[in-house]
Amino acid sequence: MKRAAAWSILLLGGIYFILPLAGMVEFSLSMKRGVYSLEAYRVVLADPQFRQTFTYSVVMSLLTILFGVLLVVPTAFWVRLKMPWARPYVEFLTLMPLVIPAIVTVFGYIRLYNTSSWLPLTGTLMGSNFLLLMGYAMLSLPYMYRAVDTGLRTIDVATLTEAAQSLGAGWTTILARIILPNVLVAVLSGAFVTFAIVMGEFTMAALLNRPAFGPYLQLMGANKAYEPFALSTIAFAITWACMGLIQLVTRFSKHTKAAQG
């Protein structure tokens, strides 16, 4: 009886998630009347703007991930090692982006760094790109920090650090050869969320006037019928591919069992 109830709830949940997805995919295949075809996908992929914005956002998300890892891993490591009392505060700080809307942040940026300010970042393309990168990094901070901090919890950071120090290792070696490899799976899950956030982000990219994938999606959605659905399907496929990759990485990292012990 209990079993049946559990299964029907699962089934209901499944339908709830899958039905809209199925609808989306079905519609994206229906550009040609009467037959299923990949016409919408062909049109989308042939659009030079698609390729430009997509590439731009992929590059930006990779840079954001790189920056995030370089910022978050040493920070979380240091807080755990030397300032455990500060952990709640740092955690609170990293949660701020969830409370402060992106639009507030980006207006702040524009006000602080406009062409007549002391640091006119918005005046140049590179400056705007840099600002956008910082904005993305901030948006991903809550997920990145939590993922890394959870990863650090599974190893004895203090003792491993001391062991490495007694063997002559400096901070860079410790971070690169001991800490990072042991939290790699956690870092990857944070990276995946970051990737998803950056690929879909609209507000910051639009207001800083950068050619990102988010504003392009919005533009297509407002003007076309079938193409947005093809785009959404593509975006969704990317997300799932990322998740699959994380599973693979977890499976093949031989030492994760030890890291948990």
């Binding site: 004895d156 062991a163 120090q165 007694s166 002559g168 030492h255």
Partner: protein, 349 residues
């Protein structure tokens, strides 16, 4: 000049003085144990030698060089931790070679040194395994090999055997001692297990509330404890209150029976002590002092039977060997105990 000297070492955490005026000199190749109860500051002393804690005051010299200001990675020290602390993401061979890789040793040299170390610890075939694929005892041996591979000047071990089960603890401590002697490496070994310290050390430092109560060979520590604490902490000891009859000639009574020490004693009352193994059941040849008592407890330990007797209101534990034909006395039996007055320790107040 000794190889490692620690002078007037002090450490406070806030208002809490954890190590107090600690002095120790260690010769090259010596095996020193820091022995003491939990919280007495053993780990803190060791961590100051390693460089993980900064002394509040005092000096540490290794091979004539002041190391207090050096960072841990500049001290040429090998450290073994209670929790093994192997790097989970590296194989056994990579763990052992880590220190060599960090100091820029050539690849072939690392490989041959790793092989040498792995056969030294008796695990020549496990280089490709990951730490989680090893037993606790194997992991700790790998940790030892990892600490020794870069040829440190000093080896520090902080209760390396505490996490292992009893049998492995005994065999591994002998192995550690054998390796230490083979390499001739200066070693400080922290433990709260007195049997461990007695069995493998050249000298033992007995610590108590941040102070080094006594430094000496296991024989000295066991047979001539310098303080009441050392007497009580190392081994089992019967403390007996004796009434001093003649302080100069060393004549006393214990439980009414006369005991003549022939050594000067404090006036009035003295605390005497005897190891259980120095007391015999019945009148044994060569024992000059006889006490009368009543058996109150019998503890069969196998080859040895530990008996407890009440002698004039004082509790005395003593040992007798198991003999298949002779059952031990039962509680309530009136017995005589014999001992040599010169085996009695006079415990300073």
């Amino acid at each position: 000049m000794s190889f490692l000297t620690i002078e007037h070492l002090e450490k406070s955490f806030g208002p809490n003085r954890v190590v107090k005026d600690f002095n120790l000199t260690i010769e090259k190749g010596e095996f020193i144990s820091l022995l003491g109860p939990s919280g007495c500051g053993k780990t803190t002393v060791l961590r100051m030698v390693a460089g993980f804690e900064t002394p509040t005051s005092g000096a540490i010299h290794i091979d004539g060089k002041d190391v207090v200001r050096l960072r841990p990675n500049q001290r040429s020290i090998g450290m073994v931790f209670q929790a093994y602390a192997l790097f989970p993401n590296l194989t056994v061979a990579q763990n052992v070679g880590f220190g060599l890789k960090v100091n820029g040793t050539a690849r072939q040299e690392i490989q041959s040194r790793v092989e040498e170390m792995l056969s030294l610890i008796g695990l020549p075939d496990l280089g490709a395994r990951y730490p989680f694929q090893l037993s606790g005892g194997q992991q700790q041996r790998v940790a030892l090999a990892r600490a020794l591979a870069p040829r440190p000047q000093v080896l520090l071990l902080d209760e390396p055997l505490s996490a292992l089960d009893a049998k492995i603890r005994v065999s591994l401590r002998e192995e550690i001692r054998a390796i230490q002697q083979k390499l001739g490496i200066t070693t400080i070994f922290v433990t709260h297990d007195q049997e461990e310290a007695l069995s493998i050390s050249d000298r033992i430092v007995v610590m108590h509330q941040g102070i080094a109560d006594q430094v000496g060979t296991p024989f000295e520590i066991y047979n001539n404890p310098a303080t009441r604490f050392v007497a009580g902490f190392v081994g089992t000891l019967n403390l007996m209150e004796a009434k001093v009859i003649d302080a100069e000639k060393g004549v006393t009574t214990i439980g009414g029976a006369p005991v003549i020490l022939g050594r000067p004693l404090p006036k009035g009352k003295a605390t005497l002590a005897a190891r259980p193994e120095t007391i015999r059941l019945g009148r044994a040849p060569g024992k000059d002092t006889v006490l009368a008592g009543k058996i109150t407890g019998v503890n069969f330990l196998g080859s040895v039977i530990r008996l407890r007797a009440d002698v004039g209101g004082q509790v005395i534990d003593f040992d007798t060997f198991n003999a298949p034909g002779v059952p031990p006395p039962t509680p309530g039996t009136e017995v005589e105990l014999s001992l040599s007055a010169r085996d009695l320790l006079v415990i300073p107040e």
